[in-house]
């Protein structure tokens, strides 16, 4: 696994031990009497302090399951988790409930997609923010309230003291997500996983939330794993990008390299299906053929082969003998493809999101 970073801004981080190391993580949902589904299939990546990585892919490719597996939040029954997840060197796969609970919220935290349903509707914001402070920082009463107001203030919620007494439905969508970010950052965690944190918000709010995340993470050296299917988010925020397809990572690259020179036909397809400002008006967007349901099992070859324009016979295991491996592909890049794109179909980065700059 290559962890060498190519660009200059990363050299400062390159020497530091990674906050999170995920190795060959696999998650299989089993049902009695059924074969089960392999939601995550041998995924490896690592995040250094202060670094932001992106996990990108279509719906159902296993992004959320990966993040839940890292946090130890998958249900106890009906799930097999394999491989290794290390937070600051501590193994989390197979760790006890108590160990994980102490780490969650304190050393690793997560922000979810839907801020409304992620907040308890019957309890005030104040109660929900202070409960993290009580749990992990031993604060109580007035002290916890002060700190909670301070946290809300830091994530840009105006009039925080009044907001503490309000219920989730009294806040706007953006403010709810800010409150949730405040909770997850209350203990300055080493790792923050954001699972499509802006999908449920409108575009201007999206940009603000991304900007907020960027500021908070840059200021504290927190490692950020950004899960998204929005390449605009990736362009605005991520240092490195891992593209996932059907439970496996198929391409890894620095953000600029990825946008300038996508190698995997799937990545190329993702980029080509995003509207851009620098192409002439009227240029048709080219969506990827088919849907994620067309994926074949990796054991039979490249899962993307049925939808791929550059696919050839040896993409299938029967012909090639082995499934497509993830291999080094230049400095800081990895690729799982036998017939990669040679030239860049697009240049620069897409401009769908206000966060892009």
């Amino acid at each position: 696994m290559s962890t060498a970073f190519s660009a200059g801004i990363r050299t400062a981080l390159a020497g530091q031990a990674p906050v999170l190391e995920v190795e060959e993580l696999s998650v299989r949902f089993t049902r009695r009497g059924e074969a089960g589904t392999q939601a995550v299939d041998g995924v490896s990546f690592s995040v250094a302090p202060g670094e932001t990585i992106g996990l990108v892919g279509e719906s159902g490719c296993g992004k959320s399951v990966t993040s839940l597996a890292v946090m130890g939040l998958l249900p106890g029954r009906g799930v097999q988790v394999g491989g290794s997840v290390r937070l600051d060197g501590q193994e989390l796969v197979g760790a006890g409930d108590r160990t994980l609970r102490k780490l969650r919220g304190a050393d690793m935290a997560m922000v979810f997609q839907d801020p409304l349903s992620s907040l308890n509707p019957t309890v005030t914001i104040g109660v929900q923010v202070t409960e993290v402070l009580r749990q992990h920082r031993g604060m109580n009463g007035k002290e916890a309230t002060e700190e909670a107001a301070d946290l809300l203030d830091r994530v840009g919620i105006p009039d925080p003291r009044r907001r503490l007494g309000e219920y989730p439905h009294q806040l706007s969508g953006g403010m709810r997500q800010r409150a949730l970010i405040a909770m997850s950052l209350a203990c300055s965690p080493r790792l923050l996983i954001a699972d499509e944190p802006t999908t449920a918000l409108d575009v201007t709010i999206q940009a603000q939330i991304l900007e907020l995340l960027r500021e908070l993470v840059q200021g504290s050296g927190t490692a950020l794993v950004m899960i998204t299917h929005d390449l605009g988010v990736v362009a605005g925020l991520c240092d490195r990008v891992h593209v996932m397809y059907a439970g496996k990572i198929i391409e890894t690259a620095e953000r600029r390299d990825l946008f300038a020179r996508p190698r995997h036909p799937y990545t190329g397809g993702l980029l080509a299906s995003v509207p851009r400002l620098d192409t002439p008006r009227g240029t048709a967007l080219t969506p990827i053929r088919g849907s994620a349901r067309d994926a074949i099992p990796w054991a039979q070859g490249c899962a993307f082969a049925p939808r791929c324009d550059s696919g050839q016979d040896d993409c299938l295991t029967e012909v090639a003998g082995t499934t497509v491996p993830l291999e080094d592909d230049g400095p800081g890049r990895e690729l799982r493809c036998r017939h990669p794109l040679a030239t860049a179909p697009v240049a620069g980065s897409p401009t769908t999101s206000g966060a892009d700059r």
């Binding site: 102490k102 919220g105 349903s117 308890n120 509707p121 993290v132």
Partner: protein, 313 residues
């Protein structure tokens, strides 16, 4: 019996699952508020509420409202074999076979029905909810154990069980309340458990877990309060059942041994002897039982609709 059990279980579980849905446009306070707003516009709810409120007022102010002492055998001298005096001055509904004013006895009888109904429902709800929390919060073998027990209770028809318990505990009011309470336990237990399981899978429960909050706190601060709305609805409906069961048990002679105390079920029972020539003595208490039970049922059903996110506008 098993088919009936399956049916009852399904009904309870469907209720519990429906309560698990968090409405898209907010919940909590706004949910209660909008539920209340809809209740006020719902004629069925208003009828139910009026009946319930009148019943409560009558029970509370019985001594002020009753024209006479319900125990006074005022017209005993006029009672003959085969004829009982009907309505007349000072006795708007006539008297019973012991010459006591029927209206006053009906008014005082409401107290008995209310007391037995409320106490047995509260008792049944408390025990049932404790079992439900046990099952819903811990899952695993605690859940299996509790639910097996509840299923056994549920498979015995309510009145049959109440009669058996009443007979077992002897003839007094407390036995009556306990008997009715026991019949209420399984419904509350299963309902709360189902609704807690639905809430445990909710996004906010996961988000709270992701913050490292203790499981006991997640259960009691987050999951439980969000699971209560079907229980409140069931409580209202259970009051109706409890009042009917109380009347039925005392009709069967399993109620208060002090037969002079006014009670609707007992009045109904004693009216049997004179049914041929004075059926009103049976009709009045029966009407009271029906109307009050109807009131609680109407209120409960419209409360359920008002709290159901599917019916929200």
């Amino acid at each position: 019996m098993t088919a009936a059990l399956g049916h009852r279980r399904e009904k309870i579980d469907a209720l519990a699952a429906r309560a698990g849905q968090v409405p898209a446009d907010g919940g909590g306070v706004s949910l209660t508020k909008s539920a209340f707003r809809r209740l006020r516009r719902d004629p069925v709810a208003i009828i139910g509420a009026v009946i319930v409120v009148v019943f409560l007022l009558v029970a509370a102010f019985a001594p002020l409202l009753a024209p006479r002492d319900p125990l006074e055998q005022a017209l005993l001298s006029q009672v003959r074999q085969g004829s009982i005096p009907g309505a007349q001055d000072g006795f708007p509904l006539g008297v019973d076979q012991l010459g006591r004013d029927v209206l006053s006895r009906l008014i005082y009888g409401s107290r008995q029905s209310l007391m037995i109904g409320v106490i047995s429902t509260v008792l049944g709800a408390v025990v049932g909810m404790a079992l439900g929390v046990l099952a819903g919060a811990f899952g695993g073998w605690a859940d299996t154990l509790v639910m097996r027990f509840v299923d056994i209770l549920l498979s015995i028809p309510g009145l049959l069980m109440a009669i058996s318990i009443s007979v077992l505990l002897g003839q007094n009011q407390y036995a009556l309340m306990i008997a009715i309470a026991v019949t209420q336990v399984p419904v509350f237990a299963r309902l709360l458990r189902g609704s807690m399981l639905a809430q445990r899978d909710s996004d906010y429960a996961l988000a709270t877990k992701a913050l490292g909050v203790k499981r006991s706190r997640i259960v009691f601060t987050h999951v439980l309060p969000n699971s209560l709305s079907p229980v409140i609805v069931q409580g209202t409906l259970s009051l109706a059942t409890a009042i009917i069961e109380a009347a039925a048990l005392s009709f069967l002679g399993l109620g208060d041994p002090d037969i002079s105390r006014p009670e609707w079920g007992a009045m109904l029972a004693s009216a049997q002897a004179v049914l041929s020539f004075r059926p009103q003595l049976a009709i009045y208490p029966a009407l009271c039982i029906i109307v009050v039970a109807l009131g609680f049922t109407l209120l409960g059903e419209s409360l359920r609709e008002a709290l159901d996110p599917k019916f929200r506008r």
